[in-house]
Structure formats: C-alpha cells, structure tokens
Symmetry: C2
Amino acid sequence: MQWSELDQQHCSMARTLSVIGDRWTLLILRDCFLKVRRFDDFQARLGIGRPVLADRLQKLTDSFVLAKVPYREKPVRHEYRLTQKGLDLYPVVMAIVHWGDIHMSGKKGRPLLHVHANCGHAFDPVQVCSECAEALDPRQVQVLPGPGSRDKSHMPAGAIGAPPRRRKTQLGRD
Amino acid sequence: MQWSELDQQHCSMARTLSVIGDRWTLLILRDCFLKVRRFDDFQARLGIGRPVLADRLQKLTDSFVLAKVPYREKPVRHEYRLTQKGLDLYPVVMAIVHWGDIHMSGKKGRPLLHVHANCGHAFDPVQVCSECAEALDPRQVQVLPGPGSRDKSHMPAGAIGAPPRRRKTQLGRD
DNA sequence: GATGATCAGTTCCAAAAAAGAACCCAAACG
DNA sequence: CGTTTGGGTTCTTTTTTGGAACTGATCATC
C-alpha cells in the first residue's frame, strides 16, 4: 500500500495519520501551539527545508487544520493559525510530549513544564473515560465495530466476532 | 536538519517522534494494541512493505517499546509484544484515534467503538489535568522552561522570558 | 521421498520524498 | 542605489519507500 492511500482506509488512526502522520507535521503543530505563525519563524525554529515546510503548511491548510490569514497588504503576507480542528489536536500533542517527558528525558528532567491557569499547578495530562472519569488502562478497554465499520478486513484482531486466530504454539499466551 | 538527528533535540515532542514519528510506526503500534504480534500478521493487515516492517520492528525493539520474545523453538519464531514503555503510548494512540473519529469519519460514523470494562459504557478519551481533574484547554495552559531546559534556542515562543517577538503589523493579534 | 505450506525475514531495483543550496519577487528601509 | 524582510519556488543530490523475488528451516501432505 502507498502512504498516500492511507486516507481511504477504514480506520480513524490511518485517516488521522494521513493528515498529521508526516515527518515534520507534528513538529510544525507543536510550534503552532507555541504561537509560532510565520513561515520564516517555523523554518528557523525547526531547521526544516523550505520546500518541505511550504508543502506541509499547504497540506495542513487544505485539510483545515491551519488557516492562512493575511496580516498585511502590500505586499500581502499571511500567517498560519490553528483552526478549531487544529486546536482539537491538543490532546495528541500533549500525549506525545508527556510520553517524551517520562521516557525520553535525560537525568536533568523534562525540558518544559505546563502550568494550568485553572488551578495554578504544574500538571501532567491524564486520559480518562468520558463516562466514569477513571484513568484509562488499555487492558480495561474492549474494541467493537462501530456504526462506520464496513468490512472485516480492517477489523481489530481482538474484536468480538473476530477473535485472534489461534495457532499451535508452545510458548504463546495472551 | 536530518530526521536522524531529531533525538538530540531539546524537546520531548521531537524525542518522542524520533521513536514513533516514522511513517507506519504508529499503525504498527495500533495493531499491537489490537493484539497483533507476528510479522506476517502485521504485514498482511497493514499492507506495508516487508523490508520497512522489518526495519520498524527492529527500531521499536531497540528502543524498548516492543520486546521480541520467542514463542516456538525449531525453528525459533518470535513475536513482538508491547513493553510497559509501549503500553504507555496508549494515550497517544487513543488521542489520535479519537481525533479521527471526530474529524475524519464519514457520515456513517466512527469505524470502531471503545467500551470501558470499568463502567460498561462506550466512551471517548478525555484529557484532564492531573492536579485539578478539569478537562484541558490549550488556552488555559502556560508553558515554562523545566529542569531539563538548557538553552534558549528551543524555548517556546510563548514562554515566560521569551515572549513572541512583536512586529509592526496591521492585522496581527494574539 | 518429493511437494508444498508456514514464518520471518533479506536482497535488489525502481519510484518517491527529503535535504540543502540557490534563486525569485515585491516592498520597505537607509 | 543597495540591502533587508517575508514567503516562497527551482534544481540537484541523497534517503526512504514500494514491491517483487529469494532464502532457509521445519512441518504437513501426497
């Protein structure tokens, strides 16, 4: 399969990655959340090649994650701003940063702290269940086909109706 | 900058992406969370090229996100399992899937549902503050240099001590 | 005993994408 | 007039992918 056909897959992860799964795209979005808005600022901060940056900003604009808005006429200049669709990526960005804080920081500790204006504390992001507000544990979550499921080819191996196929193994166990 | 130098950056996002930011890697991890464990199963489900799959599994094993464990001798065969470090990526995976559910699903709705064994309900993941348990809003979060910050070159544009540089613009506003 | 299937890769080559430098253009600045 | 700023585009070289074919050990089957 080609990477470019990813958006046709029947999977929310694949469809999301067709928008943000590129090398660089998430780093661009990180900077967007840090209020970077202009081409040259992105380029200088990221050290990304200018052609690649132009392409990524174009694609993010095409998919309505960023909006290109003029901030000056004569000559017309634009800046790139997160749309609501883009702002909704905040949990993705924070989850990635948090994993890096925990697993990839050196002995000196995390590079950045996040302070919550609501409560005034430095915090970590925690993912909870929308229904019972408990922190999520992957082993407590069951995956079922949803209304938009279509065929079995991309069904989860662990979903009801599609049990993982068993083989004759000696050491394997779930 | 080369993609391969990403892990040396002074940023948790960049360091995380040096592990999981590759094309295909997050899709491989999605399947890991769905209990896929074997080379040919990954290959068949993802439609990924075999050399690329071999490379990604190797890198994930090298970085201790997956562990390669034998499940049969004669001939020895291995399967790939999430380590704790890998399981800790669950919030990243769920946040990405949820964004796709909201923003990339067709009219038919999301392809998969997630049911929480704790409370028995289909749920969405919600990201909250570890200190006050309120749902996080990017506008309520301030970013400060942490203990592991080193120089100013990768400081957030919006951080204290490094305000976004103002320019003489007519239309720009924060 | 030969034939084929299973499983987990590796090798090889063509096609696509990224890295990096140079160039372009319009306007403002000095 | 020459330079700087801002936002790109072009071009060439280097890296990565995509895809098919091949390897090799072990079973299962004819």
